[in-house]
Symmetry: C2
Subunit: 337 residues, 2 copies
């Protein structure tokens, strides 16, 4: 078998290989209008309600890291996927795949952390499943959460709705989650005080929608980081996005770690941040609303949507040059979520 016929780690990276895999294998096979937009959650019209429905598996390694654990991640990640459709998250399902021999005490800690996060996000667990596989057949614990939420009438948020003239906001500093997880990994020679930003974003979205329902795009830049997310939006909306590098909040420690490791902070995962794209007339009020919430206090306007070059993201660097901000290619940080 040739190596291109095998699944590579990079197929799970959130980058180009993964996008190709999804397009080639999944969309081709499962095509339907609900799945097609490739947003973080599907929007399902049932009788009078518009439901959002989403799923994510969590395979983060290690299971515990500064600022969170796989349990908090599994709740927040799915809450956020629903929130990125503008939906009010209501119910989650939780499915565990546990490796034989996994310590019950760790499982209890993780479940406790899921409970806390679900209370924080005001969602309930509606369905569960547990599978145990033999020692060596999984790596400790994998968690899948699916979620349903309700999309308020009038809200139409999608990666394909970015319009020329819109303003791009990020809700806080980028790269924290990726660097926090990485710094816990065994054998790494650095340690940071950076904690993961993993947090539920539904209150932040609610605050935003209280300002205006005219929000065009919401996206949480998880796997593949801000770069991949912006590229996805530029492609889906057939526009260009111009980002002012110096406006993007990045913690010094994250920058330092990225320099040491040769990573681009724009490609490092976040788990408690979101990109907001909306008409310029709402930008200041939206920013103000975000900054009032603890999860949005470092929010900043970082760029705008322009017409050309279509489907590209342009970074205006602090030294005045510009460069293309490309989607992550290959796998930079496997098992970051």
């Amino acid at each position: 078998m040739k190596s291109e016929d095998k699944i590579l780690l990079a197929h799970g990276s959130g980058g180009k290989l993964m996008h190709n895999l999804i397009k080639e294998l999944f969309l081709k096979n499962f095509f339907n209008p609900i799945l097609a937009p490739l947003d973080d959650a599907a929007s399902i019209e049932i009788a009078s309600s518009r439901l959002a429905f989403t799923t994510d598996s969590y395979v983060v390694k290690p299971l515990f890291f500064k600022g969170g654990d796989i349990g908090r991640l599994a709740v927040c990640g799915t809450v956020n996927d629903l929130s990125m459709k503008g939906a009010k998250p209501l119910y989650l399902s939780v499915a565990l795949i546990i490796e034989e021999g996994f310590p019950l005490s760790d499982l209890e800690k993780i479940i406790g952390s899921m409970v806390k996060a679900s209370q924080e996000a005001k969602v309930e667990i509606a369905s569960g499943d547990t599978k145990v596989v033999e020692k060596g057949s999984a790596d400790g614990l994998f968690i899948n959460t699916a979620g349903v939420g309700l999309i308020p009438p009038g809200v139409e948020i999608s990666a394909k709705n970015a319009s020329v003239g819109d303003v791009v906001i990020i809700s806080g500093s980028i790269g924290d989650h990726g660097i926090a997880v990485l710094s816990e990994r065994e054998g790494l020679s650095f340690q940071t005080q950076i904690a993961s930003d993993v947090a539920p974003l539904n209150e932040l979205v609610e605050a935003l929608l209280n300002v205006t329902q005219e929000v065009h795009v919401l996206r949480d830049p998880t796997r593949g980081g801000l770069a991949s997310t912006l590229n996805e939006i530029a492609e889906a909306s057939n526009v260009a996005i111009e980002i002012d590098e110096s406006a993007v909040p990045i913690k010094d420690e994250v920058l330092g770690a990225c320099e040491m490791l040769g990573f681009d902070p724009f490609q490092v995962a976040n788990e408690g941040k979101m990109v907001v794209i909306l008409p310029e007339k709402w930008a200041e009020k939206a920013l103000e609303a975000l900054k009032k919430h603890p999860h949005g206090k470092e929010a900043a306007i970082i760029g705008r949507v322009v017409a050309e070059p279509k489907k590209k993201v342009i970074l205006k660097t602090s030294i005045g040059t510009t460069r293309l901000l490309d989607m992550l290619m290959g796998e930079q940080l496997p098992r970051i979520c």
Copy 2:
């Protein structure tokens, strides 16, 4: 660490240890009225619609077996969990955890099989997720599917609704899936022609509900087999269930394989069968409706709900004796679904 502090394979068996784990760890922590009944799917009231919502991970080994594969299983299993609430399955989510190096050709076969099964069940895939973990960190492929469906007005199906006097029907022969999967496992010295029964049951449920909405209980006897399912129902409804052994359809080859391996066919998993419990007055018509459908043509009345001994299942054997049919204890067949 003592061995009782670790997760054992038996914690995933569908038997007593798993029930204890769910009760002790999950229900205690996640308690809410929606999750509490521990049915196969949650029922969620949203505006005017009643949604069913469920999740299951699939870790079957091997991935391909006579009569199906993990893809067909992952679609049918979740379709069936929704169907067991009387819901019309509408949308599934699909989340893959793939081991690095997994052959793309196998993935394509499995996706193809999911497409076929979802067409058969008339459900659409609304959301997806792909994670890849390093070689050795998973065993080929795990699939999670969550599902949402709509519960028709007036339908109230739950494991706690079995009433004294009700009739117990099984929709076909038992044990086929477990034996089919087992016979594919490497190193096993027997081979059967038994194919897995894995199939979507939603049409069968629709046919049944066309006869009467007064169906009390529907359950598909998957992990832990018919014995565990009947015990769960007896416990949830606080009744006894009396089963006539000779009335239960079991294929000769399944019986033979069970004898050889020391298995009780009542504890072997099914993936395309269901237990129906409903008032006696509807029994004959219900049976007739089931038998008309290809997936129900071997349906049979196998027992009834009685008052005592509460929470027990009594098997009247073909030689005239009776024995308690106990829930599976420990793990008989790991990774059967």
